[in-house]
Symmetry: C2
Subunit: 543 residues, 2 copies
Amino acid sequence: MTNSLRVVMAQLNLRVGDIRGNLERIIEAASHARDELGARVIVFPELSLCGYPPEDLLLRSSMQARIERALQTLCERVQGIYLVVGYPWYEGEQCYNQAAVIADGNLLASYAKQHLPNYRVFDEKRYFSEGSGSCVLELDGLPVALSICEDIWHPQPMAQARAAGARLMLNLNASPFHMDKQGEREATLTERCAEGEMPVLYVNQVGAQDELIFDGGSVAMAADGQIALRAPAFAEGLYPVDVRYDDEQVSLRQGTLAPMPELEASVYQALVCGVRDYVNKNGFKGVVLGLSGGIDSALTLAVAADALGAERVEAVMMPYHYTSSMSLEDAEAQAKAMHVTYRVLPIAPMVEAFMQTLAPVFEGLPRDTTEENLQARCRGTLLMALSNKTGALVLTTGNKSEMAVGYATLYGDMAGGYDVLKDVPKTLVFRLAEYRNTLGQVIPQRVIDRPPSAELAPDQKDEDSLPAYPVLDEILRLYIEHDLSASAIIAAGFDEDVVKRVVRLVDLNEYKRRQAAVGARITQRGFGRDRRYPITSGWAMDD
Amino acid sequence: MTNSLRVVMAQLNLRVGDIRGNLERIIEAASHARDELGARVIVFPELSLCGYPPEDLLLRSSMQARIERALQTLCERVQGIYLVVGYPWYEGEQCYNQAAVIADGNLLASYAKQHLPNYRVFDEKRYFSEGSGSCVLELDGLPVALSICEDIWHPQPMAQARAAGARLMLNLNASPFHMDKQGEREATLTERCAEGEMPVLYVNQVGAQDELIFDGGSVAMAADGQIALRAPAFAEGLYPVDVRYDDEQVSLRQGTLAPMPELEASVYQALVCGVRDYVNKNGFKGVVLGLSGGIDSALTLAVAADALGAERVEAVMMPYHYTSSMSLEDAEAQAKAMHVTYRVLPIAPMVEAFMQTLAPVFEGLPRDTTEENLQARCRGTLLMALSNKTGALVLTTGNKSEMAVGYATLYGDMAGGYDVLKDVPKTLVFRLAEYRNTLGQVIPQRVIDRPPSAELAPDQKDEDSLPAYPVLDEILRLYIEHDLSASAIIAAGFDEDVVKRVVRLVDLNEYKRRQAAVGARITQRGFGRDRRYPITSGWAMDD
């Protein structure tokens, strides 16, 4: 006789720290899964009760009591369904990244994560001790194992679960997005399913938390690697999977496969998700940004309007003597195309006031970037005043290439709370702008086609002081994402002087990045918690 | 027959990342110890070749080759002395925090750190694998063990060394300062010496690295807990210890004990060390800061002048309508007392230009903190222009109490590269100002005595909007340093409304702190790498 177990994968967007709110969402989802979807089991993401990553909130003395109370409430309020939920669990001096199965008033079994990632963006060994041993229990007669995120990237927990008699693996995740991540996940899952000769239900959370973007992409994979269900990326939902089992085998009923996202589309959605969640989860009414007529602010505006709706976005053009009429025209055209509030505030009166005050001090000294920075800082101060007065968040518009080489002004164009393009190299900015226009032309083609310029000095072009962006971005990728040395990059065929200059700029500008706004991480090595360099450093590129 | 082994404790200020420079300093110190001090052994701090903490420089592909070359050079160039040095050691996918004994061309033995701190400011499990097993070798017939920093805070490495026959422990450290740390260290060493029934030579580095301050305080302690030598805090030096041994016992010849520092003196020296090393190691010619007539900028100026010399310090008074004549007088008096360059740049023209530009936008909206922030941002922009033009670093002057509750303006008074008082609560600011004046009156008494005011609005006082500082600082200490919940602080006897308001402000202002300048950590929980909170957070104080 073949049995069937309906398992719902709860791909939810939970909120870090908000245990009470997450608890209510979990209870609501469980009730819906049981009553409307006919599910016997519902699986939530990693650390679903406290959200991921909770960081040092885990060290607060009141966390333990809050979690215990939440688990108690789950036991009391959830009936008629097996609920699989993640939470931090404290035992004496230790804390575990744990998952439990709760049903009809009882916590039936629990599992502690065995593989704790402590690299790149992860700091789990700061908080957690490693679990040991599998957790296998029968749900309606089917022996099911639990595992948590990183566990599935190593063979050992699956081997252990199999040895303990498991025939289905439920894997709770908080797996952050980067480009092409879904392919990596599914390749790994294929290996694990084959090793364990059992299906895996991979449940991931969705939504943004500061710089981390979680894309969902939950997957139900059969033992042979066949995908029975792929949840869409960047969307919340409850996804039922029917697991069929008898004494011989366990199979999954074929369901719907969301398409694997194209690269540009997935990055664009990640940026939209990042802005939306940062703004909404932090309670901002809207955003304001400086629109310069250049491509970075153009793309940032498009992302913001797509994330929040035009009515919550305000764009400000702040021209000065070096602002071209083309920039003024294009900024206005774009603001109109996107239907956002648009304002023009010339900065000349402020810049002149600073220049006059500083004239006696600067007398006899040559003009340099000081005067350019003054323009940027007058703009930053205006935007911050609008933000202070209206409660709108200032979005900054610097891209990854600029953040890397310090081609940005601290307290100027870097002033703001969230940097939409922080991890997007300039060459990808162009591709994303083209992509966005395929959904509806909102960025004037001239903005995409004209040579990039900061317009802080007469006839200035980015490529006067930086290598061409395709060259720059490739050097940056090798240096930042792959940790190659300058000499290795030169050996790969790049000009020695260019490489040395770029590497020196990256090293020197750590101090700027340290004070930069957070922004969505979309590469395998973003600036932020992913790359922790000393500011004070004697590292020499040619030692 | 009693033998004697002279061991030099090399309490040096090394430079993170500068392997070549550190190598030369190590060779020079070893030659000096051998030739001038008659030493047989010299012990350097933890990770002395690359400096501590190297952070993600450890992930650079060229680190391994640089370290191997440096060790090779040490083997070639150091003769006639046992040299004990620390470095990262790569084996396949693993990296170890290691120490080795090098003599006459050979690496005689090596030890890998067994206890890797991964809490508070430490991230060693991000980089290192744990060593296992002791390293005991005979130096001139005396069996000596090695251990590294955190190892000495746990009983196991000492027990292991003793079981392996060691009779002397050499402990290499990079142990950061916080208030009263030296007492904690020596109490722990007393336990270890007793357990191991052997002396410990505890060698610590000195100097500042970004937010971390290393105070030295190297100690030679006999088996009975008697201290034979205590090196002075915050000073580089080579400190010889004579170890006497025969078949029966190992003893230390009594040397000089630097006095245990008083609290205010040690914190003041820590701040001086922080500024000096940040400025010098990053190659700034000097510093510039805004001098407001208040106590924070007064103390910051004193620290800066003591750290760098008056000729490298420039103070700028930037008055506005709300600046009192008392503030103008006191700022000038202090600048004169400290012999620093002093300049007055009124900000009214810039503030008025912003207000006029914004008038149509702000029409009908009430005056609020926006106008106060504009003043602060005009000051920040002026200071940054001076910095850009002259190459001086801008010091910010915010204290820990202000950073905690967000009583500071982003891109305004928070604009700058290094915040001297970042981890100094306001009540301690007062004590440090009094302390500094005992060395010579440089801060006008009126600056210490008057009620603190930001002078951003008419007749403004800090205590109009904040609780009295002694109350505020105690609440902050319990919340930040001890992780107590709001209800636990209320239960400890503080007013409920005050506690809730303070806790809410601390939680809300994580976004400001994330963009703040680095500054010296002097408490057990500083803002920065020591306290990693999410910006986006649903943590509710009363859940």
